[in-house]
Symmetry: C2
Amino acid sequence: MRVRIDADLEKGTIERTELPESATWLGGRALADSILFEEVPPACHPLGPGNRLVFAPGFFAGTSMPTASRMSVAGKSPLTGGIKESNVGGMAGITLAQLGVGAVVIRGISPGPSLKLLVFRHGSAELMDAPELGGLGNYETVECLKKRFGDGAVILSTGPCGEMKMSAATIAVTDTNGRPCRHAGRGGLGGVMGSKGLKAVVMDPEGSQLRKGADPGAFAEAVKEYTKILQSSKRTAFWRENGTAALIDVSHARGSLPTRNFTSGAYDKKDRINSDRLKVLVAQRKGAMGHACMRGCIIRCSNIFNDPQGRYLTSGLEYETIAMMGSNLDIDDLDTIAQMDFRCDDYGIDTIETGATLGILTETDLFRFGDGERAIQLLDEIGKGTVLGRILGQGVTTTAKVFGIARIPAVKGQSLPAHEPRSLKGLGVTYAVSPQGADHTAGFVAEEPFSKEGHTERSRKAQINMVIADSLGLCQFTGLRDDYGLFARLIGALAGKIPSAEEVWRIGRDALWKERTFNQAAGIGPGQDRLPEFMRSEVLPPNNSAFDVEDQDLDRVFGDYP
Amino acid sequence: MRVRIDADLEKGTIERTELPESATWLGGRALADSILFEEVPPACHPLGPGNRLVFAPGFFAGTSMPTASRMSVAGKSPLTGGIKESNVGGMAGITLAQLGVGAVVIRGISPGPSLKLLVFRHGSAELMDAPELGGLGNYETVECLKKRFGDGAVILSTGPCGEMKMSAATIAVTDTNGRPCRHAGRGGLGGVMGSKGLKAVVMDPEGSQLRKGADPGAFAEAVKEYTKILQSSKRTAFWRENGTAALIDVSHARGSLPTRNFTSGAYDKKDRINSDRLKVLVAQRKGAMGHACMRGCIIRCSNIFNDPQGRYLTSGLEYETIAMMGSNLDIDDLDTIAQMDFRCDDYGIDTIETGATLGILTETDLFRFGDGERAIQLLDEIGKGTVLGRILGQGVTTTAKVFGIARIPAVKGQSLPAHEPRSLKGLGVTYAVSPQGADHTAGFVAEEPFSKEGHTERSRKAQINMVIADSLGLCQFTGLRDDYGLFARLIGALAGKIPSAEEVWRIGRDALWKERTFNQAAGIGPGQDRLPEFMRSEVLPPNNSAFDVEDQDLDRVFGDYP
């Protein structure tokens, strides 16, 4: 039995219900989507009382299945104006699931004056006051909460950016070391949390239990098979050894590494920020590679990055951050990037969106390429909420609007992540049409990267498979997105009712359809299914390619939809 | 013969063509819409090279017909993201038309470095440099240009806000006294002009000729009939005597006067800002009521407002400005409001949008109700383009976004004007569904103001009739919107080919349809055809009414479309 917890911040009440039968096979993104689709008026303001914020552990979260305990955070996005699911690692998915919780729904706006906490203990959920946390960064917030609730507490929190309801604010999740360094980063869901007056969700894992499923034997057997596939994959070892930073070299080589505000796909100084460089610094300073963000992960792509004095600086110095704050800003120094990453994690602001934002700011006199010191100052302005900081904290589209900038690397209000669609045209199709806005985790397509044709079906399939992974709690690096048969056995053994392979497919298909339908009712027309104009008119070095997939092929992703 | 002038700012070229046969009956809004619909890629950025800015005198402009020489300014709006037609009085419509120009299309972006002028003289059009005008307000711009081109020059210009590409920037038009006090105010078309690098359009009226039409006798006869109707209308005399400020009392009485950030429909201090008060001050200071913004107007609703020392302060102190900067901000002093109006005109920013913006700013610590001094300071910040000023200059929706405000009096990104839809529900339907965003000149519906039903057809008809008026060049105060037969005779006598009454209707219907279709392709889905959420959840004193027209009745305005 999985329960749903509704915390009404306006009334100060908690309601506890069983998940309905329709959710038998649903977790994570699919479950969150169905809740939002049914309960949130699409035209509501994302920061108003009508919006809801959902935390939903993936379907397999908290079981013995490895690398399968991610969590979905979802709501109507202040950044895109549509449904947003931001998927996060760390310890929250496991812990909630092992406390028997299938979904947490935050509704209403606290009348204040104090910030609120939602506290889960074995068999109980409670709203509490936490006036002392106002304005605190995520690191200090977590320290305070550990003093109050014990060192073992698993914590979801929002930083000052979330309290200020910024459109690029994140929700932090503590990792295996209890640090708030994993983030539901995209779409500004931290701003939604802030608008509710909720500062943190605290989970005391005491009494939590491994989920064994309705048919523990069959489940254990299927997990064994799944684990074997995962362990034998070359990729698993590759990510563990090199971290996601390995993508700096990969992207540079294929010309898809955003560089100097999306004017190049290759970075001449990439050796100063790539995985090799990272590994040297990590080893010198006794940090760690092969770090797991959540318990039970066998990929372990994360890392711990220390400063030159060997003191902890940040964890999970990841590819997207290194590219968007490094090559995209021509900041060729991992120490500066790590300081920026720490600040973003602490203030609770998306590194991808913020990197893109500083990139376009080079069109003004407020920032120039390569100025790491100024970049850090600007992040501090965001964290403090100065007038300039408040602009930047809304992300690239609002910043462009305020400064009259027309060249905007964003789709549906959300900045492009660190994969250039002009050198990855199939991914460009996903960026253009995904209900999530430009999002590299919405359906990665790497095939025939320079072909202008053939991506429609690939993108649709990749998007559906990604929804399935996000619903099951699988990390995208598991790479197991196609194996509906194995998933069906795993789901069935856990749920006590076996889906067909087609029913597994339908988990993804239906959730994606709900996201798109919600967005349309929210006013996002298909005319927004387009990449930024400049990606068609400007060719990208070094491949000198422009995005040239026909509009009709973009429209067919959903237009031909079964 | 009417010509179309294309000025390509990128190439520095001028092209002169005859208007096509399809434009035989088109002028103003309908002509501008058809140009934009055919030539502007809907997904282009409003400030990018793909957008075009159109100036199109109304069809009757420059003839002997009174109160019928208004002009349409149109382009893709940086404020709404859709097609925008902003209709303006003053002398530009007459002058362009009498120089034989049916439409001016500005395309491309000037490579700089100098700002550009487009100069019309009898039989010629020319692009010229004007580096000396950079950053100048509209008043100083006009002074400089008169020195260069003569006191008789008619001038269209954009102020510093347009140069800064602000989303609420206007385009100023000189009035009968040669002052830049008439504005194409809504939708940020000044920002589009600024993005092109065009500072002003200068028209030397020398050699311009009254347009007499293909059948001068029949035209003169029909004009006589039209004029008689207009002169005998009680409203004509009412507006002349009281100005649009008369609406303060009217709106207060029906509870539709936006007060204190749209929290009331009546204003306890309305006697300090109403028409009676205005007339007293105007008389004391030897200003003028019954002032005509354009030559040949027999309504003459404008005024000249002097300061206490009897020096000119502003002209056209109009209802919308008085309400949005007066009652809506609880500023109960016409002198302060007039100073604000002057600044808005000089900097080139929309008084409606800016009044609404300062209204929501009362939710922050940056502004409080009644603080006229601070309001003026904030306008100065906009004019100077400080960081805060740049936010405010983008209007209410962007300002709300930056400061995390969820209660936003806007539709499709554009602020509501000074008519509360909770006490004017038919107008609320127009606000909600008009392709122009919330706009009181998009189709005013005053009937059964508190009924939740019956407005669908009224709003559709009012919108079509308004497009017809905007296309013909008629001021909305002519109130002659229904008389298709008379219009058909007037159009036919001027064009040499008589339309049927249905063809007159079709001018409006087709243009409106093009606006909507363009918007959809630009990504504005029907889900944006909604009033702000708070207008359904908050009842408005003193009538204690909320907006309760059903969504389906909103959708039927275009959904049932013939």
